[in-house]
């Protein structure tokens, strides 16, 4: 040991170069702050250093380290590669996977500062969110996702060998088209097992015995009872209709699919389900990671572990990430989830530590509570984007962002400003913004409502056209064609105005022989 003054803190690194020991040192320093000072709770970390091409690979398979093969991933790869080579698009500094252990990919081109930032952001920020958010806990199994992907890849490769690449490709094409409608939005009722069924039957019997009264027998019955629509009711109950998970329905009841085809649909559906909570928590997830890296980097600098130069480099990058252009800026392309998430979390920090009278009135539960991290950890665990905005978007932040609400009714000649950042507008804006993050409002509500079992086995779907926004017609027809191919018989989709119940539009498609099902018809 040759350091002279044990109290002098040496920076983790100087300059841009890094090696594995640098990464390890940075990780250890960050871990101390993240677990000790911020109280984060994380999956064990695994950090993979990768190169450009591997990053492009990961891009094309929606960030997963292994995936089944399909031409569309090749297409995405070609597009990303072309954009990257032309300098039109930079690559992400990292990709992080919601698995246990949590895998973060970091690029070899990153500077030492960027590696530190990326570790703080991904390996701690995202990791904490993955492990603690209720939606992710409920819907994804971080322990087994990689094994499942491994299985999926192998299974689909086997199918390709056995049934031919074309057959598998067509099936996956069709399944991908329906992927957004291949998720369960709510936990299903599991069919009860025999023992609990018995238990319930006994309880019911006991209850009946307890409340038994012979008088009821003497009460005269109405003639005929209910009108006889029980056949239809029974059919719909049997087929679990209405059903919004179209892929699930096909997997379970499509009459002509082979077992392997059902399994492939199941794979696509399971992967869609895995990503479903991530799409509902994107803003919070990014906000959480950004807030965490911001806190950690500042703390490292405070402790003298980061040089001033590294800090400036970090701030530059951080500022780019959380930049929110105004709506009339040519760079505007929607609300930046990083910016909104980070701003809201910083705002919560402010409310906890230096509340104003307004905050006291709006957020009595947390204003001035002092313990920022406890409040934030609670947010990260128990909210999704929609509920988080509904609960925590403060008037001050609305003013700061200059948020306003514009209503665009196709029947009116002009757009109308519904609300701005004033006393009357805060709640309206908050509600409207939250709704934009509500998946029930953003994804079209499509349900399979009936199957014509007696005659031609026609599958009937309804799209409840919220606010009379119809489906994009060309795409809808293509997807419907895929659906008909999978179903094997005709498919009919009605677009319905939920306000009046009137049918706005109808699309129909017939199954093409020889696409998914063999030609023998």
């Amino acid at each position: 040991m040759n350091y002279i003054n044990p109290n002098a803190v040496r920076p983790l690194f100087e300059g841009a170069d890094w090696e594995f020991s640098t990464v390890q040192r940075a990780y250890d320093a960050i871990e101390g702050i993240a677990l000790g000072e911020l109280g984060l709770d994380i999956y064990p970390n695994q950090i993979d250093v990768i190169g450009t091409e591997q990053m492009l690979d990961a891009y094309s398979s929606i960030g997963m380290p292994l995936f089944y093969k399909h031409w569309s991933f090749g297409k995405h790869f070609a597009r990303n590669e072309a954009m990257y080579r032309a300098g039109m698009q930079g690559l992400a500094y990292e990709i992080v996977i919601n698995s246990n252990p949590c895998i973060s990919y970091i690029m070899e081109e990153n500077t030492a500062t960027m590696q530190t930032l990326v570790i703080a952001h991904a390996a701690f920020g995202h990791n904490h969110f993955f492990k603690n958010n209720y939606l992710l806990k409920q819907w994804t199994d971080a322990d087994s996702i990689l094994d499942y992907l491994e299985f999926a890849k192998g299974y689909i490769a086997q199918c390709e060998e056995k049934y031919g690449e074309t057959a598998v490709e067509r099936l996956i094409d069709a399944a991908h088209a329906l992927m957004s409608h291949g998720v369960h939005r709510y936990p299903r009722r599991r069919p009860a097992d025999l023992r609990s069924e018995e238990l319930r039957a006994r309880e019911r019997r006991e209850h009946e015995e307890r409340v038994f009264n012979d008088l009821w027998r003497t009460v005269p019955q109405k003639d005929g009872g209910k009108p006889d629509n029980s056949a239809e009711e029974r059919r719909r109950a049997l087929l679990q209709l209405p059903q919004e998970n179209v892929l699930y329905l096909l997997e379970k009841i499509a009459p002509r699919l082979q077992p392997w085809q059902r399994e492939v649909l199941r794979i696509v559906r399971n992967i869609a389900q895995y990503f479903y909570p991530q799409s509902q928590t994107k803003m919070m997830n990014e906000g959480c990671a950004t807030y965490v890296h911001y806190r950690i980097m500042n703390r490292l600098h405070q402790k003298g572990l980061l040089t001033d130069g590294a800090m400036v480099e970090f701030l530059r990058s951080h500022t780019n990430v959380v930049f929110q252009p105004d709506f009339d800026d040519p760079r505007y392309s929607g609300i930046n989830p990083y910016a909104l998430g980070f701003a809201m979390m910083q705002d919560i920090e402010r409310i906890c530590t230096e509340p104003t009278a307004e905050d006291q009135q709006w957020f009595p539960a947390i204003a001035g509570s002092g313990d920022v991290m406890a409040v934030l950890r609670d947010c990260w665990a128990n909210y999704r984007d929609e509920s988080f905005i509904l609960q925590f978007l403060s008037p001050r932040l609305i003013r700061h962002l200059g948020l306003f609400h514009v209503l665009d009714d196709a029947n009116e000649p002009n757009l109308r400003v519904e609300a701005i950042h004033d006393e009357r507008g805060y709640r309206k804006i908050r509600r409207a913004l939250a709704r934009q993050y509500d998946i029930a409002w953003t994804l079209p509500d499509i349900q399979v409502v009936d199957v014509n079992l007696e005659t031609d086995r026609q599958l009937i779907l309804h799209h409840r056209a919220l606010n009379r926004v119809l489906l994009e017609e060309r795409d809808a027809r293509l997807v419907l064609q895929h659906l008909a191919d999978l179903w094997g018989y005709d498919v009919l989709m009605r677009e319905i105005d939920p306000a009046t119940g009137s049918v706005l539009k109808e699309h129909a498609a017939s199954s093409r022989p020889g696409i998914v099902h063999p030609n023998t018809n």
Binding site: D48, S72, A82, I420
Partner: protein
Amino acid sequence: MHIIDRRLNPSGKSLANRQRFMRRAKSLIRKAVHESTASRSIKDADEAGDVSLPAQDMHEPSFHGSATGGIRDHLLPGNKQYMEGDTIPRPPGGAGSAGAAGSPDGDGQDNFRFALSHNEFVELFLEDLELPDLAKRRVVDTESLSWERAGYSVSGSPANLALNRTVRNSLSRRIALHRPKTEELKALREQIRALAEGDPRRDELEEELDRKLRRTTLIPYIDPIDVRYRRFEANPKPVARAVMFCLMDVSGSMTEHMKDLAKRFYVLLYIFLRRKYERVEIVFIRHTHKASEVDEDKFFHSPETGGTVVSTALEEMRRVVTERFSPDAWNIYAAQASDGDNTASDNERTADLLTNCILPICQYYAYLEVGRDSEQFPPGFARRDSDLWQTYDNVCRPGAPMAMRKANHRRDIYPVFRELFARKQAPAAAEAA
């Protein structure tokens, strides 16, 4: 925490996906390649490159709301002037302010550029092209010998001495015949030196040394019977020797546009031959009222002008054939590009030369007539065929190894080229398969 260095993992994980994509997009990519050749300059027609694919043809559809109609909410940051209740004129393009609602799938509908590697490009570019009837002609003296290794022989030239094998033989012979080793002799000499003069054992040892030395000289280190040579056998390989004559009219009547077309045609031909047939000889002949054989550079780049006598080019071709390319030994091809003008008095002679001298020795004769870009004739008015076209039309009877095409515009060149050199048997073979 683990840090894992994955940089050395095999790359090209997405290769399988890329191939699937290429297979799926093959017709699109092929079309894009063909179109891109029309717009490229002559020089980089052989270069690899980006092709632009229309995005919607590789579209992945999904259910999503349309961008217009209905009631929409837009939440926008950066309010500067608006008050509640203000109305804003609908921005052009329909969908809300600044297109805030966008398309939810995020992908634009622009074309996207797809980079093909050099080989992928050329492969698609020259797909299904070939020289017709190559090597159908009896190829007498055109066998080349390729030498292949065929074991060892006891005789041969010193250059082919198989050193390993020779030493191996010698070693086994020396062991078998107990040739004393150098170390043995050395040890024996040491022993002798160590013993005193007059020691009885010394004589004994010296005797043994003598015997061993004698044995060494009798049994040579390498004997002629050890020596082996690498043996080569000559395998005759039939080689299709072919020559392509490129005849180009560079007379004054050819406009710059026409020359450009003709050059484009020959560039394609040149690339095609160089790529697919390494051993094809190419002879460049250009002509005005007189013809001369020139090199590649002059052919494509040097300006010249004068009258037009087509027969001179055919004469020149005949001269070159008699001098260097005996029709018995060579497959002869010719491609001619011209604007169709010819001195009237020369037509008969041209026809005569072609019918009697050129076509009989040719496997294939392609004639390309280049026209003016602006030549648009109203429908119903057939353009009068040029002198040369009429002349050739008479010659080009069914069965004659000759084809004629016209091209008026850059974009015609590649299709015409493909027509002229398309694989003739391909459709029949495909049907049979």
